[in-house]
């Protein structure tokens, strides 16, 4: 059943890749721009074999992870507080809504002045971009907590901080987990973008270098690789969610 579904899911991408290959070979698409699968796959395997792709992946993922962790470390506590203390949320709403639409790329020149070309440049810009989903999702999840639960905490004699830790945080966790997963996807996208635009490191820079040295097949190899890595991380995070939040999924018949 799952195998069948997997095979079905592969039909469309395989057909697309085949069409791509055929179109380039037939001269409908320029090979300089589009390369072709029969060149891209060897380029990918070669890059993996000689370790360059792994090294670039590490640079990008380390930066994305760092930025994501910063966003989580700020966004979750802040979201908890804003979700629990209504007046505070109203007080900060305008500030948050004004900062949120600022394109993260606009931060590149500023952060560049502070950190130079470095992991921190990727990480800071990624952190800014992922802060918002984490913050907004956490605030919403906390606001949606069953008030009775917090009252149970009160009745059992837990103080305000203990109630946040033992009641509010776990109750909001399924929501927060979704926010964190979405945010990690954003962190990777932003890190690669910063590398393409400015930062000479990681997968994004490798892509732009390949493009500039007219090696389209290597550029596409990186592109595919980024997609694959992002997909794998998403799958792993969904699995972790189902494991750590068993109680949530068990009740929804998907343990």
């Amino acid at each position: 059943m799952t195998l069948r579904r997997l095979l079905l899911g592969l039909v469309f991408p395989v057909a697309l890749l085949a069409a791509w290959e055929v179109s380039v070979r037939a001269g409908l698409l320029s090979e300089d721009v589009f390369s072709r699968i029969s060149r891209i796959v060897p380029a990918l395997l070669e890059g993996l074999a000689d370790g360059t792709i792994v090294a670039r992946t590490y640079e990008t993922l380390a930066a994305a992870l760092f930025g994501w962790a910063i966003a989580a470390a700020i966004g979750i506590p802040l979201g908890l507080v804003l979700g629990l203390v209504r007046p505070l949320e109203r007080l900060t709403l305008v500030t948050i809504e004004a900062l949120r639409p600022v394109p993260s790329a606009a931060l590149i020149p500023i952060v560049l002045l502070i950190f130079g070309f470095s992991l921190e440049l990727d990480a800071t810009v990624a952190a800014f971009a992922c802060l918002w989903p984490v913050l907004i999702v956490t605030t919403g999840a906390v606001r949606g907590i069953e008030p009775r639960l917090l009252e149970v905490g009160r009745a059992l004699g837990y103080g305000a901080l203990a109630r946040i830790w033992h009641f509010a945080l776990p109750a909001a966790l399924p929501g927060i987990a979704v926010g964190l997963r979405v945010a990690f996807g954003i962190a990777i996208v932003v890190a690669v973008t910063v590398e393409i635009a400015a930062n000479p490191r990681g997968l994004g820079y490798a892509m732009i270098t390949a493009q500039q040295s007219l090696r389209a097949e290597v550029m596409y190899a990186y592109l595919f690789w980024i997609g694959l890595v992002g997909w794998l991380i998403n799958v792993a995070m969904i699995r972790a969610e189902r494991h750590w939040l068993r109680w949530y999924w068990a009740a929804r018949g998907a343990a």
Binding site: R148, L149, A155, L156, P170, W247, A251
Partner: protein, 255 residues
């Protein structure tokens, strides 16, 4: 009557301009099983929340051992009416019961055995590792009762704990609670809108009327213990109490 362990002193509660409780006053004796009956919406839950220190009345006060109850205290345990929202969905059955042990700082070593004992008492020994959302309503309510017992309260406040159980389970639990509370010399304030349940369980029955909630009658229940589902309910005095109290419920329910 012995020195009261608990008392309501002219408790008045308003929500907005609507008076909900109007100068409700009565005592609870140590080791007494006191039942509170009244039509739906007359303020039984509200009164119990005042008792637990979860809300403060506009006038009057609840007193535990002569001191005003201003905040929840571990000496008073409350079993909420809406059990499905009062359990922590991320904790197992055993974990929910253990919560009360953690709250009162019971030594870690003895906790598992105590949880097991309590789950045995309420007949959930086989479900210790399930999550609340995987249980039936009646089972969830029993978990809540076990949690309240784990708190080892001086006074057990119960809000229609058996309201949603089928007749057989309900009677079994009535007998279990009656036996347990008398054996442990537990003081109980038990809210129900089932008059027969109140007479069957209570040492005294306090009848409230609605709009606003007031005490209309307090009846001493002089039925022998241990009580029996058949003979007690057929006892001439049982019928007499029922007749006497029935009017208060029927009159107001009809409005």
């Amino acid at each position: 009557m012995a020195q009261p362990i608990f008392a309501f002193r002219d408790v008045s509660v308003r929500f907005g301009a609507t008076p909900i409780l109007d100068k409700v006053g009565f005592d609870v004796a140590p080791e007494e099983f006191l039942c509170l009956v009244g039509p739906s919406g007359c303020g039984k839950t509200t009164l119990l929340r005042v008792a637990a220190g979860l809300i403060r009345p506009q006038e009057g006060r609840a007193e535990f051992e002569g001191r005003a109850v201003a905040e929840p205290t571990p000496e008073l345990a409350i079993v909420f009416q809406d059990y499905s929202r009062a359990l922590l969905p991320w904790r197992t059955v055993a974990g929910n019961v253990e919560l009360a042990l953690e709250a009162r700082g019971a030594p870690r070593a003895g906790r598992a055995a105590e949880v097991k004992r309590l789950l045995g008492i309420i007949g959930l020994a086989d479900h210790a590792q399930k999550f609340p959302l995987q249980l039936s309503g009646g089972m969830q309510q029993r978990v809540q009762i076990a949690r309240a017992l784990a708190q080892r309260p001086r006074i057990l406040l119960m809000d229609e704990p058996f309201g949603s159980l089928d007749a057989m389970t309900r009677q079994a639990l009535q007998d279990e609670i009656a036996r347990l509370c008398k054996a442990e010399r537990q003081t109980v304030v038990f809210v129900t809108h089932d008059l027969e349940e109140a007479i069957y369980l209570g040492d005294r029955v306090v009848a409230l009327e609605a709009n606003p909630g007031r005490v209309v009658e307090i009846v001493e229940i002089a039925l022998p213990r241990p009580r029996d589902q058949l003979t007690t309910r057929e006892h001439p005095r049982f019928l007499e109490y029922r007749h006497r109290l029935f009017g208060h419920l029927a009159k107001k329910e009809a409005e």
